[in-house]
Amino acid sequence: MTTRMFGEPVLRREDPRLLTGQGRYLDDLGPRALAAAFVRSPHASARIRDIDVSGALDVEGLVAVYTWEDLPEQVGAPLPLLIPHPALTHGRTAYPLARDLVRHVGEPVVMVVARDRYLAEDACALIRVDYEVLKPVVGVEEAAHGGLLVHADVPGNAGAHLVQEVPSAAGLGAGEAIGRAPHELSFRLDIERSASMPLEGRGVYARWDADDRSLRVYSSTQTSTSVRMAIAARLGLPLPSVEVIAPDVGGGFGVKIVHPWPEEVLVPWAAILLGQEVKWTEDRREHFISAAHERGQVHFVRVGFDDEGRVLGLDVTILHDHGAYTPYGIIVPIITATQLLGPYRIGAYRVEFTSIYTNTVQVTPYRGAGRPQAVFCMERTMDHIAAHLGLDRTAVRAANLIQPDEFPYDQGLIFQDGRPLIYDSGDYPESLRMIKELIGWDGFPAVRAAAEAQGRRLGIGIGCYVEGTGVGPYEGGHVQVTSDGRVHVSTGLTSQGQGHETAFAQIAAAELGVPLERISVVTGDTRRFGYAVGTFASRAAVMSGNAIALACRKVRAKALRIAADALEADPGDLEISEGVVRVAGSPGASIPLATVATLANPLRYAFDEQAARATQFAATPAMDRPPVAEGEEPGLEGRDYYSPIRSTFASGMHAAIVETDPETAEIKILRYAVVHDCGKLINPMIVEGQIHGGVAQGVGGALYERMVYDSHGQLLNASFMDFLMPYATEIPHVETAHLETPSPLNPLGIKGAGEAGVIPVSAVIASAIEDAEGIVIDRMPISPSDLFHLRATR
């Protein structure tokens, strides 16, 4: 039954194409395009004295070489600061090509266009850039001292400073609440840098049509609509003359929400100038040194609590390393600051962050976006409290949980969407009960003892989170039924593997009563839908899912009006299933949606038999009203938008059992369990897949991945040989259980699942290792050699 589509593990419709090599990723397009390559800075901080391109000019196949001086004013201007914020008093962005100064290794300095990429790179190698090398600022704490500056006009390297405070119910500030609390602890927590690291890097391909003066750009982006507006503005083109398409995208995880990248401006500009197609495909080293990183943060926590472990006051000070530029504003530390409270009711809270420039790659959201750090802070705090009081770690959490009858629960903060942080729904005690049961928390002492008897060392850990998902401002959906009975759904946001073609088709099938096979879904193509925000913050299902549902409801209502006319029935008596409108209870009276679509568009010309039914002499129309009635439009189609009052809040709890080798300090995750609540599930198979992938990235961040900069600002491990992304052998089997507390905020009751898996993993693994070893774990990731050294200093 079509109406049972919603909530079913429907197999993905994108798979047949992707399994047979028929996907269209960026570099698969434009086989005849010229290739762009970039000369990038080898220094973390330097002044450009001179650029000598003469050596490159003889390279066979060279087409053009550009430096900043060659760029017209609008093209060469600094890139936009995408998310301004009053606290970001010193926002700085890069020029598309470096002007005078370079501020991190990898910053683009010269753009070369040649017949193919090999030749373009040959030319790059022959361009001589004369640098005056300056001493770089590396390390967030050193940068915070402000001895050396990344930007001469940013004192103390401080781009932003923000304080948020929520007093206790009794009106106490955090400092006072902590001072009066029976117990007080303070400690420091560190998280190192990692990165989204999609297997497909960035890429841009531009085609200029000189005849009709229009530009088509393909970009491996998470937001094609916004790239389009940025390109039109930069290149001075009328918006309707620019189209941007996100083709199949080989993973995003946050990094591809940043835009316009220098290359997204320069490649289309060169394509227009040269009158030829130009393409740039990022290579892996470029991705490491010129895209974006995240996670690096230092946290100073002070907490006051009572004998049951209830938090009475919490004060957190954060140093955020945002690299050399702030194109995405201060979203990451804002999210850390506001999502830190998790599922807990905290007495008084004060959080302060300073966002600091360093001569490293810029920092922008990576799946989780500041939440893994937040959860690491809060959950380590819970564990510290439990250790201090000698209580079970889950008992301390239980003492602090927000109760089911307290929703909507206002945390008193302003979230990343500029709106109040009010939790919509959830059942945290049930979640805790489920995770304890799933991992076998209460039975673990016996498991541990049995292992110990064999000389093995085990530990168990837990981590809880609440994730603001589905942030606005809006998304839209367009649904069109054509006279062949097919349904064409489009939405402006983009896809990077989340299975939107399937999930959105399920929603349309359920709403319209049409078989799945007749529905096609297009995302991220501005030719089909021009208004959108983008795919990030676990928002796609919530935002576009609801917008598509609303658009379907419009189409359905219209279909019923037209069918009611044709069947001489009351619209209220009609139902749609299998693509046919029927009078309920009278099987004979029916009309296919295909025919309804035909009738919806009054015609003069019959181009086929079906169309003939809508022509002027085909039926006896009502002569008292125009063929297209007032307030109606031709065609069986509808467009609608979903703009939420505020974010939804998904939540979950993870637990793990780890084994540490007493000799080698090797760390192995024996079991990993997830309880997850993202409201109503559209497709449980896809949601599980998102969780698996998120947990794997979390394990990478907990045990393996770190960006290692030396004191010269060189990224020492800018390759897959040295940056250790986990293989199948490193990732545990993930056991999952779902809890569904529907969101009251949107028609479908969904919340969003994209980031959930990654968020608490570092907290969980730290908790489990600490439990196994009896050593405080206060920085992640942790490698066997880190653990080995920690043991030695115990």
Binding site: G21, G23, E200, M721
Partner: protein
């Protein structure tokens, strides 16, 4: 420039390539077979894995001129001549073994070779067999499941 002749997915193909042309680039850009992906170009991710005379090989670590005269299967050649998906492809679809699909061609080729060699691999053998391929999306759980399922599907074949 060198003239080379390759048998790709059963079809004899010719290309004129410079000595430094990577096999991955030759397949993708000279022969238009863009199903083989490039994720690192330094031999670590496995996205570019193809079958060279039936053996999985990283095409980004291979110069095209060195495989003159050899037989190559890419992801485009895994399905049957009638377009029917191979058991490995079907299993990946059934078990949700892919998300963005970028790593998938490499996993499919690797798993195809693995199961040809060892039609009933143990859990350990599957993990070992795919441990040279990176996936950033799936967390591998469903890929492992897909390989086991593929083994079942192959065993069921007439």
């Amino acid at each position: 420039m060198h003239e080379i002749t390759l048998t790709v997915n059963g079809v004899v193909r010719q290309a004129r390539v410079p000595a430094r042309r990577l096999l991955s680039d030759c397949l993708r850009h000279d022969l238009g077979l863009t199903g083989t992906h490039v994720g690192c170009e330094h031999g670590v991710c496995g996205c570019c894995t193809i079958l060279l005379d039936g053996e999985p090989v990283r095409s980004c670590l291979t110069f095209a001129v060195t495989v003159d005269g050899r037989e190559i299967t890419t992801v485009e050649g895994l399905a049957g001549p009638d377009g029917a998906l191979s058991p490995v492809q079907r299993a990946f679809a059934e078990c949700h073994g892919l998300q963005c699909g970028f790593c998938t061609p490499g996993f499919l080729c690797t798993a195809t070779a693995l199961l040809r060699e060892n039609p009933a691999p143990t859990e350990e053998e599957v993990l070992e067999g795919i441990s040279g391929n990176l996936c950033r999306c799936t967390g591998y759980q469903n890929i492992v499941k897909s390989v086991h399922r593929a083994a079942e599907l192959i065993a069921e074949e007439p």
